[in-house]
């Protein structure tokens, strides 16, 4: 899969490489390229989180289908709200601000800020992975049609945690913390 690597990260050949060598001689452009690479890394990370969350949503939908077949119509609205909650977190992650500064930024990258952002990103990953346990509980509850609401609440609490983490991340990027 070597050739799958995106040229924006490993741009040592082709037209892009030549152009990069040329513009590196422009003052300040190298710093821009550095930020560009960090932005790209950030995007890749967020895309990964987004894919993880999408897979969790599919699980919720599977559980919803199973519950409906078993006569669990009364849980549909709550499960749908769970599915929408995952969508909301997913959309926030996909459109979250980048840690690499914007194109017009003249400042160097604040490494301390970046560290804090990466901590949040790691926490997000941990929280998304913790959804597995809660979804397992929900699946078991759906199979026995017992304590389904409590299991739904368990998943929702993780989603609330994810939203809080995203809020904190946004505040750092806006310079509010």
């Amino acid at each position: 899969m070597e050739e799958v690597k995106d040229l924006r990260l490993d741009n040592r050949q082709g037209l892009g490489a030549k152009l990069e060598e040329l513009v590196k001689k422009v003052p300040g452009f190298e710093g821009y390229l550095d930020r560009q690479k960090r932005r790209h890394a950030d995007t890749v990370h967020r895309e990964y989180l987004s894919k993880l969350l999408s897979s969790k949503k599919l699980e919720v939908q599977d559980i919803g289908g199973a519950l409906l077949s078993g006569g669990g119509l009364k849980y549909m609205t709550e499960l749908d709200s769970l599915s929408n909650g995952i969508d909301k977190v997913n959309n926030r992650i996909r459109s979250a601000g980048s840690a690499g500064g914007n194109f017009f930024s003249i400042q160097d990258i604040d490494t301390e800020l970046l560290d804090r952002i990466y901590e949040y990103d790691l926490a997000l990953l941990g929280e998304i992975e913790s959804l597995d346990d809660k979804l397992g509980t929900l699946r078991s509850a759906a199979e026995t049609n017992d304590n389904v609401n409590a299991a739904i609440s368990g998943v929702k609490s993780v989603l609330n945690g994810l939203n809080s983490s995203l809020d904190g991340r946004e505040k750092i990027l806006k310079g509010l913390e």
Binding site: E3, D10, Q61, L68, L73, M76
Partner: protein
């Protein structure tokens, strides 16, 4: 090099704008869907089919778009949002093929399908044919429903391969038409398997809409489409059944219940209508009906509200009431029984034997015995009472009496 990069190809006008001299005519160096339209879900670039694209060309994919590269009718690489330089590194599938075909030349002939991945909203759905439901109270009812839903293309490659094919454009309306069959089928299925009554449907519309999302997920997903929202604006039954619901609500509000509730309600309605239209419409026959109903009304009131007071009203009944010849001799209901002893109520929805009557109504042999000695006299008495109630004027009364006697 920079001069060549300036040359852009706009799919919006489907033309090549060569603003720099010396550029190779016909080669594409910038690929972009500029004239974005939310009602267009897929747009092919170039519109007229494959064109020569240069290695190193720029592919600009906007947020919530995806670009699918097609080579010789086969969907290969997919690009998300961003600016991509088309090189061997990021077109792995396409380049592997091209290398074999062209021997590694720096031009390849391909086409790009841009896919709009925004949420497509305002997709109306409805049931052109009614859905049958066996309701415990209403029997078989025909339901009609309508609403809207929102979808998003989540797997552009699958969507193009399975739905769009080689079309140069695919609109939101076409997506809607494509999905409508699934919506109707699943709605039929959901109503048939999950709901026992129309009342339950009405009280669980939100759960039903959520359930539709779960039911439609796989149907849509196999085409690379995700259902984002599903709304049910209304589920209704035919007008005559709605009228029955309204009537039931009115009866409840009036405190009318029991096996004869409907008859009582109809009677009170007719009386109220007659009171609203003094001197019109009723004429002699309707006046008589109104009287009969009027006689039922006090009984209804007494049953439902403990009214009128014991001891009766002062001045009631009015003078001349009851009219001569009423009740009929032999009393009412007629001897011999009404309703008939046999065949009523009808078994399993079948009319009783002898019904409908062959010669008029009621059936011979079961008619009330002892009709008034002089039917005209009874009518006149009822009309007189209407005069006393203020329904008819004296002149109208005299005219009607003359008509009856003449």
């Amino acid at each position: 090099m920079f001069g060549r990069l300036k040359r852009a190809v706009s799919d919006g006008v489907n033309s090549v704008t060569n603003s720099v001299t010396g550029a190779t005519e016909g080669l594409i160096e910038v690929i972009e869907w500029r004239d974005y339209d939310p009602k267009v879900i897929v747009k092919r670039f170039p519109e007229n089919g494959p064109a020569d694209i240069k290695f190193g060309a720029q592919l600009i994919v906007r947020p919530n778009q995806a670009a699918v590269f097609f080579y010789q009718g086969q969907a290969l690489d997919v690009f998300g949002a961003g600016t991509h330089t088309l090189e061997t590194a990021n077109l792995p599938l396409l380049m592997n093929i091209i290398k074999h075909v062209t021997g590694g030349h720096n031009i390849f002939s391909a086409e790009v399908f841009f896919v709009n991945q925004m949420v497509i909203d305002d997709m109306k759905w409805g049931t052109p044919n009614p859905i049958d439901l066996k309701d415990p109270d209403l029997g078989w009812v025909q339901l009609r429903a309508f609403g809207e839903f929102k979808v998003r293309v989540t797997d552009p490659k699958l969507f193009i391969n399975e739905v769009v094919g080689g079309r140069r454009m695919y609109s939101a309306q076409e997506v809607r038409n494509f999905l409508m069959g699934s919506v109707r089928t699943k709605l039929n299925d959901l109503i048939g398997t999950t709901f026992e009554s129309y009342g339950k449907i009405r009280s669980n519309t939100e759960d039903m809409a959520a359930a539709m999302k779960f039911k439609l997920r796989e149907d849509f997903g196999k085409y690379g489409i995700e259902l984002q929202d599903f709304f049910i604006s209304d589920i209704s039954v035919p007008e005559e059944i709605q009228e029955a619901f309204r009537m039931r609500a009115k009866m409840g509000a009036l405190g009318i219940s029991g096996p004869n509730a409907y008859t009582q309600f109809q009677a009170s309605n007719a009386m109220l209508e007659a009171a609203k239209n003094p001197g019109t419409g009723g004429q002699a026959m309707s006046a008589g009906m109104g009287m009969g109903m009027g006689m039922m009304f006090p009984q209804m009131m007494q049953q439902s509200m403990g009214y009128p007071p014991q001891g009766g009203y002062p001045g009631y009944p009015p003078p001349g009431y009851p009219p001569p010849g009423y009740p009929p001799q032999g009393g009412y209901p007629p001897q011999g029984g009404y309703p008939p002893q046999q065949g009523y109520p009808p078994q399993q929805g079948q009319p009783p034997q002898g019904y409908p009557p062959q010669q008029g109504h009621p059936p011979q042999g079961q008619a009330p015995e002892g009709p008034p000695a002089d039917p005209n006299q009874a009518k006149i008495a009822k009309l007189r009472e209407l005069v006393e109630m203020g329904v008819l004027t004296q002149e109208e009364f005299e005219a009607k009496v003359a008509a009856i006697q003449g």
